[in-house]
């Protein structure tokens, strides 16, 4: 069975500093990996995805993530955090070889708090 681990419930960072939100996964075969963000009282928004190709993926709002197959990780990063980045971040995975199924497994989420 596939799974996602987000080891940190909360990450605190000062505005202007780099941020990292960690994600590791377990899946049979090659993974499709996603990051979503949930702002207060709003739905989840797609940030970025890794399907194949370059291990460094760039997404919305200046975020990027690096796929590391040997470490089964897909950490989310941003060079310079903004207070407006404060939100709940979810990592998700599904295997590429699922036949007709497409179950996306989400992590439990990491709350990012950016302060002035």
């Amino acid at each position: 069975a596939q799974s996602v681990a987000q080891p940190e419930d909360q990450v605190n960072v000062a505005e202007g500093n780099p941020l990292t939100v960690k994600c590791t996964y377990s899946v049979s075969g090659n993974p499709y990996l996603f990051w979503y963000v949930q702002y207060p009282n709003r739905g989840l928004q797609f940030l970025l995805k890794y399907i194949t190709g370059d291990n460094l993926v760039k997404g919305s709002y200046g975020f990027e993530a690096e796929f590391n197959k040997s470490q089964t990780s897909f950490h989310l990063k941003k060079p310079s955090a903004l207070v407006s980045d404060s939100a709940l971040y979810f990592c998700a995975v599904r295997p590429t070889n699922t036949g007709t199924a497409s179950k996306l497994t989400f992590g439990t989420g990491t709350r990012l708090q950016v302060t002035l």
Binding site: Y32, F34, Y36, R42, G43, L44, Q45, F46, K49, I51, F90, A92, T98, T100, A101, S102, K103, L104, T105, F106, G107, T108, G109
Partner: protein, 113 residues
Amino acid sequence: GAGVSQSPSNKVTEKGKDVELRCDPISGHTALYWYRQRLGQGLEFLIYFQGNSAPDKSGLPSDRFSAERTGESVSTLTIQRTQQEDSAVYLCASSLDRDHEQYFGPGTRLTVT
């Protein structure tokens, strides 16, 4: 263009009553998903529709839960004989197909009293 919409945005119901939640996916999206998000927790997959294929119902927690989708449009999630543990935000998402990213609706907050 319009995103995924869900109705109602909030629903309060008494234990034992049935509820029906609606999802309007993005036009042209063949895949549609339902998730449940309990307070302070991650997303729990419920059911997935892809075109005319048989739905993946593997995430439905009990036979009180069912969902239907009309072609590639509206979907309804029905919870019969609601229980307090059904209280959660129910999220709907759609995607172009199963290999593309999912776009989420704002959710329906269900409270069972």
